[in-house]
C-alpha cells in the first residue's frame, strides 16, 4: 500500500510540473496588457540585492496601474502584468526562466545581475526582447538590446574613484609629491573584472596603486590594511560585497587605521550600516549612481525619492530602507518611459519587444527618473545609462554627500 501511495504522489507531482508550462496561456498578454518579466536570484548569495531590485520595479509598475490605469501614450494605454522567475544566480536556470517568461509573452526583461545580463544575451537578442538591467555585464554593455540604469561597467568603479581621488589631491596641492592609493579586495567572482587591466590605467594617471586581497569568509583584514598603511596609502578602495566590507571596517577600527575608505558599488552603504551597525560604518564612503534612501533627512528629497519612500512605506511596512530598492524603481521607470514613448507611435496591440526598443527605449533622452539620477540617454552603441555618480559618507547612521555628481570613466572590457 505504501508503495502504491508513494508512486501515486510521485506521479502527481511530476505530472503537475510537466503540465505547468502548458497551462500558462492565462498569462498571455492581451490587448491593453503587457507582460514585464524578471529573472533574478531570489535565493542564493545575491538574493538580498536582487529581491530589492525586483520589488522596486514591480512596485513602481503596479503603482502606475493603480494610480493612472497603466501607462498611457498617444495611441493607447496598457496595464502591466509582472511575472518573475527565480534563477538562484545559476546561468542555466536564468535561461530556463527566460524561456518560460518568453513563452508567457513578455515584451521586456528586467533584472539586476551582471552575470545574467551576459549569459542571457544570446537569448534576449534572438528573441528581440530588450533587457533593462540594473547591472550591465561585460558583454551586455556592448549589446544593442541591453539598457542599463546603474554603474557604467564593473571596471569603472575603481577607475572613477581614482580620478576623484586624484582631482582632490591636485586641489590640495599634491601633498607628498606622489599619490599612493590602496585597494583591498575579496576573492569574489566580480573582483578580477573590477580590476581588469587596472595597472595600465594607474600608469596613465601617474599614481601608485597598492593592491591587497582578503579571502572571502575571513574575519580579519589587519595584515592587508597594515601593508596598505605602510605603503603610504592616502585612501583605500574596498572591492567587496557588504560582508567583506564589514570585516575590513572591523579590522580598520581595531587598528585605528585613520585612512578614508570607500565602498565600491557592489554593495550600498545602507547594506554596510545594516550589517555592521552605524557606529562601525561611521566615516565610511560609498559610490551611488542614484539618490540613496538612507540619506540624511535634512537634505531635500527629489520628486522621485518622495515617490520611492511612499512606495516603500506601502509595500514594505516596518522594514528599514534599502538603497537597492531605488535601483529597482529606476528600472521600472525606464521601462515605463520606454512603453510610453512606444505607445506614442504604435497602438497597444502592436507593442512588442521590437517596437518597444525601436519606438521607446532607443528614444529615451535626458530621462532623470524624476531626479533620482543624472539624465539617462540611450544612443547607438551606448546603452550604459546615467554615467554619473556621487560619493556619500556615513554620518551618525545616515548618508551625507561628499562630492557633487561626477562623470564616471568610460572604460569597457573588450568584447568577447
Amino acid at each position: 500500500m505504501r508503495t502504491k501511495t508513494f508512486a501515486a504522489v510521485l506521479f502527481l507531482m511530476v505530472t503537475a510540473v510537466m503540465m505547468s508550462p502548458t497551462s500558462i496561456s492565462w498569462a498571455k498578454g492581451s490587448v491593453g496588457e503587457v507582460l514585464v518579466g524578471n529573472v533574478s536570484a531570489m535565493t542564493g548569495p545575491t538574493s538580498g540585492t536582487h529581491m530589492m531590485c525586483q520589488s522596486g520595479s514591480k512596485d513602481y509598475l503596479y503603482y502606475l496601474n493603480e494610480k493612472q490605469g497603466g501607462i498611457k501614450g498617444e495611441k493607447g494605454q496598457v496595464k502591466v502584468k509582472y511575472v518573475s522567475y527565480d534563477s538562484q544566480y545559476v546561468a542555466t536556470k536564468a535561461k530556463d526562466g527566460f524561456a518560460r517568461l518568453r513563452g508567457q509573452g513578455i515584451i521586456v526583461l528586467t533584472h539586476c545581475a551582471s552575470g545574467h545580463s551576459d549569459a542571457l544575451q544570446v537569448d534576449y537578442e534572438r528573441a528581440k526582447i530588450p533587457l533593462v538591467t540594473g547591472s550591465h555585464g561585460i558583454a551586455s554593455v556592448w549589446s544593442d538590446w541591453a539598457y542599463g540604469n546603474y554603474h557604467s561597467g564593473v571596471a569603472n568603479m575603481i577607475r572613477t574613484w581614482i580620478v576623484w581621488c586624484k582631482e582632490n589631491w591636485e586641489k590640495e596641492g599634491k601633498p607628498g609629491g606622489q599619490l599612493v592609493l590602496g585597494c583591498v579586495a575579496t576573492d569574489e567572482p566580480f573582483v578580477p573584472l573590477a580590476l581588469w587591466d587596472i595597472d595600465s590605467f594607474v600608469k596613465e594617471q601617474g599614481i601608485k596603486l597598492v593592491k591587497e586581497t582578503i579571502p572571502k569568509g575571513t574575519t580579519d583584514a589587519s595584515p592587508q590594511l597594515l601593508r596598505l598603511k605602510e605603503a603610504g596609502s592616502k585612501a583605500i578602495f574596498v572591492q567587496s560585497s557588504a560582508p567583506g566590507a564589514v570585516v575590513i571596517l572591523n579590522s580598520a577600527k581595531a587598528m585605528n587605521l585613520g585612512i578614508p575608505m570607500t565602498q565600491c558599488a557592489a554593495a550600498t552603504l545602507g547594506d554596510v550600516i545594516a550589517l555592521g551597525g552605524p557606529e562601525l560604518a561611521e566615516g565610511y564612503q560609498g559610490e551611488y549612481f542614484f539618490e540613496p534612501m538612507s540619506k540624511n533627512p535634512k537634505y531635500e528629497d527629489s520628486q522621485g525619492m518622495k515617490l520611492v519612500k511612499e512606495l516603500w512605506a506601502k509595500n514594505h511596512p516596518g522594514e528599514k530602507p534599502n538603497d537597492m530598492y531605488v535601483n529597482g524603481i529606476m528600472s521600472g521607470m525606464v521601462i515605463a518611459e520606454g512603453i510610453r514613448l512606444a505607445l506614442n507611435e504604435v497602438p497597444p496591440a502592436e507593442l512588442t519587444g521590437e517596437t518597444l526598443k525601436k519606438y521607446g527605449l532607443d528614444r529615451i533622452k535626458n530621462f532623470d527618473c524624476m531626479g533620482l539620477s543624472k539624465p539617462i540617454t540611450y544612443v547607438e552603441d551606448d546603452h550604459i545609462g546615467p554615467k554619473h555618480l556621487r560619493y556619500w559618507v556615513v554620518r551618525k547612521g545616515v548618508l551625507e554627500p561628499v562630492s557633487d555628481w561626477i562623470p564616471t570613466t568610460d572604460f569597457r572590457i573588450p568584447k568577447k
Partner: protein, 356 residues
C-alpha cells in the same frame, strides 16, 4: 545502495551468466524501452510539450543525468565520495569553450578532449584516494572545487570574465535552439547512460563494486584497488567533462558562476535521492529533484502574488527548506532511493495478485 530482491518476470530463466546480465530481459521491456525512446524523440513535435521552457528543462535534465551518472559510478558503485563534481564539469566546460573560442574547434572536436582533460585533472585529485576514505577523501574533492575555481577566477582572464562559445553544428546546420539541441542532449544522455549500464556488467564494474563493499577483501582477491579507484575517478570526471562541454555549447556562453560548490552538493543529493549504485536511480533522482525545484520556482512567485502577507522571495526561499527536508526524508525513510521504490513497484506488478 540500491540492493533490492530481484523478482525476474515469470518464465524468464537466467541459465547462463550471459543471460543473467542482459539489460533487456523480456519483450515487454524491449517494447517499453523502444516506446519510451520514440516518445522522447517525438517530444519536440508534440504540441503542448514542445515549449522552449519544457525543452530547456529536459535538456538540463539530460546534461545533469550525465554528470550524476559519472558521480554515481564513483560514489555509488566504487564507494569514493566526491563533493567537487561541479569543478570537473567546469574543467570540461572551459576546455571545450577555450578550444572553440580561441582555436575555432567545433563541438565535435572539443567534446572528447574536454572529457579527457577533466579525467586527467580528476585522476590527479583522485590520487589521495589510495590513502584516504570517506569524509577525508571528500575533503580532497572539496579542495578540487576550491583550487580549480580559484585558478579559473584569478589566473585565466578569459574564464573569469566569461566568453562566447559557438553552438553545436553539423555542416551548416546549427543546433542553436532548444528544439534542435534537445536531440543532441538526448543522444548523448542515452549513449552515456547505456555506456554506464554496460560498464557495470564488465570486469571494471565488478571491481568497483568489490572495492566499495570491502576494499581489503577486494585486494586479497587480486584487485588492484589503487588502479580501480583511479579508473573510477577518471570515468567520473570524464562524464563531468563531456557534460561541461555540452553545457557551454548549449548555453553558447562559458561563465565561472555556473560551476559552484552548491551545484556539487545538488549532484550528491540527486544520486542519494535516486539511489546510490543504480543507473536508473540516477535518472530518477535527477528528474525528481529537477521537477521539485521547478515546482517550487513556479509556485513560489504565484504564492507571493496571491498571499499578500508573504514577503518577496518567501516562495523561492522555501526551496532550500523543502529540498533539505526531502534529502533528510530519503536518508531516514528510503536510504536506497527511488531506484529501490522502482524495483518494489516492478516486483509488485510481477507478483500480482500474490504480492502478500
Amino acid at each position: 545502495m540500491a540492493h533490492t530482491t530481484y523478482y525476474p518476470p515469470s518464465g524468464i530463466y537466467a541459465d547462463s551468466f550471459k543471460k543473467d546480465i542482459r539489460i533487456v530481459k523480456t519483450r515487454t521491456q524491449l517494447i517499453l524501452a523502444v516506446s519510451a525512446m520514440l516518445l522522447l524523440v517525438a517530444v519536440p513535435l508534440i504540441p503542448g510539450l514542445n515549449s522552449p521552457y519544457l525543452l530547456r528543462l529536459l535538456i538540463g535534465i539530460g546534461i545533469t543525468i550525465i554528470i550524476c551518472l559519472g558521480l554515481n559510478i564513483l560514489t555509488g558503485y566504487c564507494g569514493q565520495l566526491n563533493i567537487g563534481q561541479s569543478a570537473f564539469v567546469m574543467v570540461g566546460a572551459f576546455t571545450s569553450g577555450l578550444l572553440n573560442h580561441s582555436f575555432g574547434w567545433s563541438f565535435w572536436a572539443c567534446v572528447i578532449p574536454a572529457g579527457m582533460v577533466a579525467a586527467a585533472v580528476g585522476v590527479v585529485f583522485g590520487i589521495p584516494s589510495v590513502r584516504l576514505k570517506g569524509l577525508y577523501l571528500a575533503l580532497t574533492t572539496l579542495g578540487a572545487q576550491i583550487i580549480l575555481t580559484w585558478v579559473a577566477l584569478f589566473h585565466i582572464p578569459l574564464t573569469s570574465a566569461g566568453f562566447t562559445v559557438e553552438p553545436v553544428k553539423i555542416g551548416s546546420f546549427y543546433f542553436d535552439t532548444p528544439e534542435r539541441f534537445y536531440y543532441i542532449a538526448l543522444v548523448f544522455t542515452a549513449v552515456m547512460a547505456f555506456a554506464a549500464k554496460n560498464l557495470m556488467r564488465t570486469r571494471w564494474g565488478r571491481a568497483f563494486i568489490a572495492v566499495r563493499d570491502n576494499d581489503r577483501a577486494a585486494e586479497a582477491m587480486g584487485i588492484d584497488i589503487f588502479r580501480y579507484k583511479l579508473i573510477a575517478f577518471a570515468i567520473c570526471t570524464f562524464y563531468a567533462g563531456v557534460a561541461g562541454s555540452l553545457l557551454v555549447h548549449y548555453m553558447m556562453w562559458a561563465q565561472l558562476e555556473s560551476f559552484t560548490l552548491n551545484d556539487s552538493i545538488w549532484y550528491v543529493v540527486m544520486i542519494i535521492v535516486g539511489g546510490l549504485g543504480s543507473i536508473e536511480g540516477t535518472i530518477f533522482g535527477v528528474i525528481f529533484i529537477t521537477a521539485l525545484k521547478e515546482l517550487i520556482f513556479v509556485i513560489g512567485p504565484m504564492l507571493e502574488g496571491t498571499l499578500a502577507f508573504l514577503p518577496i522571495g518567501a516562495g523561492s526561499g522555501l526551496l532550500l527548506v523543502i529540498i533539505g527536508g526531502v534529502a533528510i526524508f530519503f536518508l531516514i525513510f528510503e536510504p536506497r532511493g527511488l531506484a529501490h521504490r522502482w524495483n518494489l513497484i516492478k516486483a509488485y506488478y510481477r507478483l500480482w495478485p500474490f504480492g502478500y
